[in-house]
Symmetry: D3
Subunit: 250 residues, 6 copies
Amino acid sequence: MQREGRDFGRNEPVLASFYHASILNHDSFAAALSFHIAAKLGCDSVPAMLIRDVFHEAFASDGAILQAAAADICAHYDRDPACDHYGMPFLYFKGFQAIQAYRIAHWLWQQGRESMALFMQNRIASVFDVDIHPAATIGCGVMVDHATGVVIGETAVVGNNVSMLHSVTLGGCGRSPGRRHPTIGDGVLISAGAKVLGKIDVGEGAKIAAGSVVLIDVAPHTTVAGVPARQVGVPSVSQPALDMDQNIGN
Amino acid sequence: MQREGRDFGRNEPVLASFYHASILNHDSFAAALSFHIAAKLGCDSVPAMLIRDVFHEAFASDGAILQAAAADICAHYDRDPACDHYGMPFLYFKGFQAIQAYRIAHWLWQQGRESMALFMQNRIASVFDVDIHPAATIGCGVMVDHATGVVIGETAVVGNNVSMLHSVTLGGCGRSPGRRHPTIGDGVLISAGAKVLGKIDVGEGAKIAAGSVVLIDVAPHTTVAGVPARQVGVPSVSQPALDMDQNIGN
Amino acid sequence: MQREGRDFGRNEPVLASFYHASILNHDSFAAALSFHIAAKLGCDSVPAMLIRDVFHEAFASDGAILQAAAADICAHYDRDPACDHYGMPFLYFKGFQAIQAYRIAHWLWQQGRESMALFMQNRIASVFDVDIHPAATIGCGVMVDHATGVVIGETAVVGNNVSMLHSVTLGGCGRSPGRRHPTIGDGVLISAGAKVLGKIDVGEGAKIAAGSVVLIDVAPHTTVAGVPARQVGVPSVSQPALDMDQNIGN
Amino acid sequence: MQREGRDFGRNEPVLASFYHASILNHDSFAAALSFHIAAKLGCDSVPAMLIRDVFHEAFASDGAILQAAAADICAHYDRDPACDHYGMPFLYFKGFQAIQAYRIAHWLWQQGRESMALFMQNRIASVFDVDIHPAATIGCGVMVDHATGVVIGETAVVGNNVSMLHSVTLGGCGRSPGRRHPTIGDGVLISAGAKVLGKIDVGEGAKIAAGSVVLIDVAPHTTVAGVPARQVGVPSVSQPALDMDQNIGN
Amino acid sequence: MQREGRDFGRNEPVLASFYHASILNHDSFAAALSFHIAAKLGCDSVPAMLIRDVFHEAFASDGAILQAAAADICAHYDRDPACDHYGMPFLYFKGFQAIQAYRIAHWLWQQGRESMALFMQNRIASVFDVDIHPAATIGCGVMVDHATGVVIGETAVVGNNVSMLHSVTLGGCGRSPGRRHPTIGDGVLISAGAKVLGKIDVGEGAKIAAGSVVLIDVAPHTTVAGVPARQVGVPSVSQPALDMDQNIGN
Amino acid sequence: MQREGRDFGRNEPVLASFYHASILNHDSFAAALSFHIAAKLGCDSVPAMLIRDVFHEAFASDGAILQAAAADICAHYDRDPACDHYGMPFLYFKGFQAIQAYRIAHWLWQQGRESMALFMQNRIASVFDVDIHPAATIGCGVMVDHATGVVIGETAVVGNNVSMLHSVTLGGCGRSPGRRHPTIGDGVLISAGAKVLGKIDVGEGAKIAAGSVVLIDVAPHTTVAGVPARQVGVPSVSQPALDMDQNIGN
């Protein structure tokens, strides 16, 4: 990523310091990540430097956060044909950035620092247009493509190697406390605008078609579509998330 | 709300002044609300202090604006299980904040100050990702949850105690002037991503399923779903908005 | 537009300098457009003045960019009944502003300045909530109404006089390089929330209903609806984009 | 001042909203003054709106603050030949602005709010380059011309109708607590760069030449000059502050 | 200067974009100068882009402004041993930057745009701590070293190749309209903190010692010192401004 | 200092987060100092977070920087009767803040990072109105009171336990490279506005009166005054800097 930054900087000197500040200046991925995301989340009420300190606390306390970030970068690089540099999700993709910020909010929530976690949730929703409750659980190797309008609720669980697109909702049903959001298995692909609602399970390797509204469990390795969604086939691969084929037939 | 602010401030001192500035410093709900929302809407072209003055003009001219705001806070507290403090919608929820800003834009429109009203509409759309025409009419006790992508058109009318989720559209059909947007009855629930289009009536207590596209009138106390939407049942309660159950069956 | 600005400024002196800076101060449409959009895109990493210089480079190099902008303003004025001044899209409409910024990003991409183009794409997505790949091709006389959540992919092609609404997606299918996004013919209307996915053709004068998911070719002058979308009729006019009637029947 | 603002705004539309926001928009001098000075003092740590609230508290608690401000404006208008509008000190003169901000800091100090007063002192020193301890006592009808580098210590007392120029110091001698700064009588003129140091009295109507260092009492209606300063004559008028003649002979 | 910028950028990549934005990105000295100074003068009331447009108007109207700027850069490079690159005054020296901004304010004043000129004067005083009335006349090849606290009054005239240091005042005496400030001949050196007051002439090649207060005419090629200043010798060179020797004896 | 911060925060909740961010949030003096000063020096070109990283590099590389900062705080606390908390210089005094920023610029200069050092010099001059060349050498236990207008040149040397006031200049004479600025011994007091110019020595324990212009060596433990300065007595204490008595007689 550092090598890419140098190449970019040479070609477009207007951006040289942006690349430098974001990537080249840091001797570790942790320093670069905390700098770049905190700069976006900072505001008058809580300046970027304070938010960056929270990132460093979280990184020091839980090494898995950085590993998940690295896996998420690879997910974009491997699955998105428009992404031909490792630096692109890091620098430019709202979905990647929102997920990394969520990971910090989630860590705060786990530490019992709920008000700081809610503050972060609000900043993520304002800056990246992605609303993830800090209590939600999200695996690694996750790609949230384009990202605008994604909503993930308080008791939702998202497995590893999941891909979802903009306007996807993992929403709740009703007002009862306790679990009221979906659980998404590993390798699932949730296409643009799909709504998955309530205390249901989406099995591993399933595919949810764009614009679908899913209100009941989805069996593993099946494709569902429609409003409300019904099974329409089976995916041609075991992990549709890696394939990014939003077509229903495959 | 002041007591909550003090508790939050003690637990998370990074946010102490944020809570203080937003809530504790003010001797009235009006002062706190105008401060907090104007701080978000302010920009280089029109600083927050000027926008705050407009809020105070509106509050002084029409007492119902503040009463509606209080009812909206209660709506979130009562209907959203993730909202366990009265201060949460006030501080953090884009939907609540967008509606309060709309109420000021609507008052400006009623005063004949159309250009200032349009400026506010643009700021609300930029800051909260919610696009409400200032001429639209919206009741009180309204909850717009998550909020990103909501669009409400010029001649739309929304009753009291309505709940809607992100990506809901109350849109127009055609180019003819005059009424061309829907009227939503009291207590209606419009689930995530539903589009309600054209000069139609949605009767009180109706429920519109997620992702539906509603092009014809909906009878009171019925549930509609699909693209285009058709009646699929009746809600289990008289005001589905209070229940927030996005399931179709109930 | 200059006359409108003077009228607005007299009626609402809070906005007088905003109108002046945005419209009245400039002796050409190019100067006003570059000022207004660059002011929105500027950020700490790349200040507005540098972005404005890029706009001027592009205008000088390709005269069609400004002609397209003028055609887009007329598209809003002619098709949107809530738009009764030429200055409104210019000053306030996120969709118009995002398209003009895209035109610069596209010019950068054509010049081989990919990193600057990607930077612009990110700024457009952050500021206007519209994600258009700079390699996409978009005609003139285009209206993107409300705009939040629109996504247009790398190999998409959009003809002239197209109208689309918020949350519309022209998305890709799969990971293979080469063409993987739709081609939209002249005069097409794509209603709110519709997803058009994959290497397909939407014929000229077609209409896509709100919330539809289109996965196969659409014949010219037909109306499609549903998830997945099927033909449900024919539009009552030859260019539905000009009519903005989101109803299915017409 | 309002009439001036309208004239200026017509001639220089770039500044129209600046004039409007600063002067025309407010129905009282208090509202205009608090808006304009708070906008300058606001910073990330304490936003302008909060500072403005402090101004309003002070104005409400002590009516003399606004009367002094009005007298200070007249002082500039009467004594400064380069000031031909009442609005000029209000809008543009750092010395006038610094004194008004000091009056609020002084009120805070009197209320026992020392930390807020010290915060204001720091902001005034940063923004206007004028360092006045909030415990100092300053009369009304005071002009601080050009202002950069003025320092007024904790136990200093400045009478009414005093004029002083940039780089003037009313400084302390030694470390003992209690009075250790000068007392300046009514109508005194202190020319550019003069330092008046220690627990001494400068009698009413005295004149202190530019660049002088005054270490001993100055008799009323005498002119002193030099390093250290000695009596060199008597002023030709009873209140040299009104005359602004920095010459030694007169 | 462009070559210097590239070297600097390579050595200190944190600053690469700063150099690029300020120097390298521009195909002309005019573009670089307007960018860099306008970026400093911009504020919420009048954004940098508008100020830059004023710079370009002035440059286009009066070619001597840019020639004077070039001569001022050379003055710093030739006279200041701490300045070993042409880019240093341009990038870093408040005195150079203040003088260039004054030249624009002066041009505005000459055009009859007094309110814009006064606005600029206030911005220059706030940003650079240098207070120059826009009606003052200043030659070219002028160096204002360190600059903080310099004051130059309305009817002052400064010749070519003058050097002055921080805290120098060219001030007025009295309240009568018409000329009331000094005229400074070519090649004069005014050392740190000197005050030159009233309608007097300082002859060409004169030297004014640090901290002096000059109240009467100074003959050409003489050295004056003291409070008040008296002749103490003759400079060892014909243009003391070029030599920067603040010693009295030479 | 942490205890003070908590007390202040309780008394003035508007400032609670300011105290928290500046002092309480940090587990070390280094973290608090870097946060607070970097927040002031940050600008669009180089954000505060990057400057803070430079502070941390310097602290890690040279432990004496933090020790000097601690000694400077004690200097203010011991010598300034208006300073009754250790936190005051840290939070509010421009002189203290400028010196700490200079120490980082000096470290950069020593590392051969001249362009970054010059950038810092410019930021210090802009933010604190204090112009110190990064090559100058300054001891510890130094107090620069009020600070506006202080200038310290490239080859100046300042000993330990020195006190100086605002508008003091340690300036150069002539254009020859090599040493051309003064050397100030330990314990010297330089009163307000004094100019010390050229390659001269000011002996330890000397006192320079306010407004003096010093052009020749000053013997240890003597008091000098006047323009030009001559010996007028001997200080009553061995280190006048600790006593802060600006009177000439003692």
